[in-house]
């Protein structure tokens, strides 16, 4: 597939998608929370931009609305809430370095290649353009998950979760010209509530283990020696 066959807007979409992917890489490696939150906000903004572009391209009117929704939710509201939480938790200065950043990067790259390899088989019925978008968004989702695996800081984990959601949005808008409106709203509502609850939990966790290091949440486990079965 060469770019030449694509319209300008489609090329633009691809560009934005690439940027989103890039941002989630940076997010994965970013040690400082505040900066990570900003990155996340930018990612949300990019998603909104993608939505807008697709809307322009496809004249799908409800997409304007969802672009707006995305912008407000992902680029403004959630980052602001996170920011506030971080400040109230006094974590502005908090930094958390990955143990082996290079390895993490490699893993991310591997995930990208994997997701591309995964979607290659769908060649028929002119999926060519959307296919790659799907690959990118899949990669974003997986990297988000990887970030949740690698980061032991609760807020960072939430960021990973949210960037997964970004990947989902990307797929939804770019590959399928947007989900039905009800679903969009429902999803947005869920994400918002989730964010609120995350906020609640940060405080609960901190008051229980006065830290936000999820590795220290290890009370509930199964390691005890029972007596023998035939006793």
């Amino acid at each position: 597939m060469t770019l030449t066959v694509l319209t300008l807007l489609q090329q633009f979409v691809l560009l934005l998608a690439a940027l989103v992917l890039f941002l989630s890489f940076v997010l994965l490696a970013q040690p400082r929370l505040i900066a990570a939150i900003h990155l996340f906000a930018w990612q949300g903004a990019l998603i909104a931009a993608v939505t807008l572009t697709v809307a322009l391209a496809g004249h799908a009117h409800h997409l304007y609305f969802s672009a707006l929704l995305t912008l407000v939710l992902k680029a403004l509201l959630i980052p602001w809430m996170l920011h506030r939480l971080v400040r109230r938790l006094g974590l502005e200065r908090h930094t958390e370095a990955l143990r082996w950043p290079a390895l993490a990067m490699m893993a991310g790259v591997a995930l990208v290649i994997f997701s591309y390899w995964l979607v290659v088989p769908m060649v028929e019925q002119g999926l060519a353009f959307t296919r790659n978008i799907v690959a990118v968004s899949l990669a974003v989702v997986l990297i988000g998950l990887l970030m949740m695996v690698l980061r032991q800081q609760a807020v960072a984990q939430v960021l990973g979760f949210m960037s997964m959601e970004n990947g989902l949005f990307l797929a939804a808008v770019s590959a399928t010209a947007g989900m039905p409106l009800v679903v969009e709203l429902g999803v947005a509502f869920d994400v918002l509530v989730a964010m609120v609850l995350f906020g609640v939990f940060f405080f609960q966790i901190r008051e229980s283990i006065d830290s936000l290091d999820v590795d220290r949440l290890n009370r509930l486990t199964e390691t005890v020696d029972n007596e023998d079965l035939i006793q």
Binding site: F114, L145, V149, R151, R219, T223, N226, D228, L229
Partner: protein
């Protein structure tokens, strides 16, 4: 002859059993209700079952109907035919005795802490389950009844749950019963796969490929064998049977094991149909093993009820040897011989039911009056409880297969069928079968040794402990229950021809051939094959025995002064013996323990003269524990120990699992 009344009677038996359990559940306030109402109902239910069974046996033919329960597309189906009738009769006989015996026995629990509600309720359910197993005509009802039987008997084993050993026994029992039940279920799965239905009729029609037939046979054998307590799947039996209340032990050993035999016969002989000689050989090998191991361990026990439980293993082994013979003969086309072995097996089934429950009831009577299960504490009970002593003696004689009692007849028949091995074409089988019968002979002799030990130590000599010295005669009900069974033992020994004529219908129905010759020479003579081959006249034997004994008695007493001087035992002129000087049960078994040493895991501590208070300690354990059970348990333990690492407690690890699963699946599908 019309079969409907038989079916009605059988239904009545089930209802009475359920009713008795309902009564004791509802009237849980009053402890005496179990004694006054529930146990008599049990007895009546047994009576009804007995009548139904006899009717079905005499009438021949079969009758079936459906009950408004079960799966939507297949209601419960019940069927009463000769085979079910025979086992109904067996159950009925024992249950009658228990019904007579029970009331005064359970009185002992009325002041205990255990709830009699559970005892009565589950006794009724237990009985109902057994009856339904025998009546079931489809796999689903069969399994429901089967598991109901296991479950309720489990609750009865766990009845006195204060004692940790009982809890352990109950756990082991239920576990193995569950596994066995599931195995049987899988066997039915195979059969229903070929028959396209859970109904037995469909399975009977189905033609299985030999491979699948063998699979079904193996599953049934393992499942029912586990319930019948065949070695090496017997470990639960000597644990569970003794700890239940004695009348329940009688039911479990005397009847429940027979229900397992019924299931095996129903599935292998009736449902699978086309049999293979390899199955017969398997049965004979396992049966011989069970018989030998069972009796040897029985001989080593000092706990009376445990000893009886082990001897049940032995007797079930004998039954399965006979069934194996039947399979071999049938598969090689000797229908008549097959029928002979089959009848022998059934005969032993009912005999064992009679004398084993008699012995358990006797043990219960001892336990009831002296609170003692340990042989080493007993002695001289014959003079304390003469009736129980007499009945117990009859039980011992019957179980030791001594003429003219019933145990002898069945073993005689088994020997007869084994001796027809010369008719087989294959030399291997010809030489294998006599060896099995040699094992049988050895078993018989060891059983005699076992019960000489039991009777001699428990009932003869002098009491070895105070509470045994003050044991009292049981109530009339308890004596009557034992007397009933003892009388039946004698009857089944003295009139074998009639019994065989009764059983004949079963083999005619299942195998298509009976034993026409058996009663050809009148009720006096039992001639299984022909009068030239072998003949036995139990009535004449006992007649002559009594005549000659009487004559001799009269002869020797005539004239001579009837003065008999009581004196201290001479005992080679040593000091007058104290109870402590008597031969103990352990001592009695010592020579045989030494001869068959390798079979046991013996932990023996012989004290040196030096140490202050020398005590002799002996502990025998079943080798199967170390060979089979503990390894399995350890395997499960280590597996679970490994598996729990999944639950490491770290949320990131969990997320890692999710990611990994996702990637692996994605990789798999593309």
């Amino acid at each position: 002859m019309n079969m409907t009344p038989a079916l009605l009677l059988a239904g009545l038996a089930v209802l009475l059993a359920l009713g008795s359990s309902a009564v004791s559940l509802l009237a849980s306030r009053d402890p005496s209700v179990l004694r006054r109402v529930a146990m008599p109902l049990i007895g009546l239910s047994g009576l009804a079952a007995l009548a139904a069974g006899l009717w079905a046996l005499i009438a021949g033919g079969d009758i079936s109907t459906t009950l408004p329960f079960g799966l939507p597309w297949m209601p419960w189906q019940v069927r009463l035919d000769a085979l079910s009738g025979f086992f109904l009769m067996t159950i009925g006989l024992v249950v009658c005795a228990v019904g007579i015996y029970g009331p005064s026995y359970v009185r002992g629990f009325e002041h205990g802490r255990e709830s009699l509600t559970a005892l009565g309720g589950f006794t009724g359910l237990f009985l109902a389950g057994m009856l339904l197993v025998v009546l079931a005509n489809d796999a689903f009802l069969f399994m429901v009844a089967w598991e109901l039987m296991s479950l309720s008997s489990y609750f009865l084993v766990a009845f006195q749950h204060e004692n940790a050993a009982n809890r352990r026994a109950a756990f082991l029992y239920l576990l193995m019963a569950h596994v066995g039940g599931l195995t049987i279920l899988l066997g039915f799965g195979v059969l229903s796969g070929f028959g396209h239905s859970f109904a037995f009729d469909a399975m009977r029609e189905a033609i299985l490929s030999p491979g699948w037939a063998s699979v079904a046979f193996a599953l049934a054998f393992v499942g029912f064998g586990m319930k019948a307590g065949l070695v090496p799947l017997h470990a639960w039996l000597p644990e569970a049977h003794p700890v239940a209340p004695s009348h329940i032990s009688a039911l479990m050993s005397g009847v429940m094991l027979k229900v397992a035999v019924y299931g095996f016969i129903r599935v292998v002989f009736d449902l699978i149909g086309q049999v293979q000689w390899q199955w017969g050989v398997t049965l004979m090998v396992i049966g011989s093993l069970s018989a030998l191991v069972g009796v040897l361990f029985a001989l080593m026990q000092t706990d009376l009820k445990r000893l009886l439980a082990y001897s049940s293993v032995e007797n079930l082994g004998i039954i399965f040897i006979a069934l194996g013979l039947a399979l071999v003969f049938l598969s090689t086309g000797h229908a008549l011989l097959g029928a002979l072995a089959f009848v022998a097996a059934l005969y032993h089934v009912i005999n064992h039911a009679l004398f084993k429950s008699l012995l358990f009831l006797g043990a219960g009577a001892i336990l009831h009056s002296s609170h003692e299960r340990d042989l080493e504490q007993m002695g001289g009970l014959l003079r304390r409880m003469p009736w129980t002593g007499a009945f117990f003696l009859i039980g011992c004689l019957s179980i030791s297969a001594l003429p003219p009692f019933n145990g002898f007849v069945s073993e005689w028949l088994i020997f007869q069928s084994a001796l027809q091995a010369w008719q087989l074409e294959s030399g291997v089988l010809r030489s294998l079968i006599p060896i099995a019968s040699a094992v049988l002979a050895l078993t018989g002799a060891l059983v005699a040794a076992t019960f000489v030990k039991v009777y001699g130590v428990a009932f003869l000599g002098q009491a070895r402990s105070r509470h045994v010295r003050h044991a009292r005669q049981g109530t009339f009900g308890m004596r009557a229950g034992q007397g009933f069974l003892a009388g039946l033992c004698v009857l089944f020994g003295v009139l074998p021809t009639q019994v065989i004529m009764l059983i004949d219908g079963v083999s005619v129905q299942i195998l298509g051939t009976g034993l026409p010759q058996a009663s050809a020479h009148g009720w006096l003579w039992l001639t299984p094959i022909s009068s030239e081959t072998a003949s036995y006249s139990a009535p004449l034997t006992i007649l002559l025995l009594t005549l000659v004994a009487g004559f001799a008695f009269w002869w020797f007493l005539r004239g001579v002064p009837r003065r008999i001087r009581r004196s201290d035992p001479w005992d080679c002129g040593f000091a007058p013996p104290t109870p402590g000087m008597q031969y103990t049960a352990t001592a009695f078994a010592q020579p045989i323990r030494r001869v068959f040493g390798p079979l046991f895991e013996i932990d023996e501590a012989r004290p040196a003269h030096a140490d202050g208070e020398p005590r002799y300690r002996l502990k025998l354990t079943d080798r199967t524990w170390g060979l089979l059970y503990l390894p399995v348990a350890r395997a499960v333990e280590s597996a679970s120990r490994r598996v729990v690492r999944l639950q490491s407690g770290n949320v990131r690890t969990y997320l890692g699992w999710t990611l990994a699963t996702l990637l692996v699946l994605l990789w798999i599908i593309s």
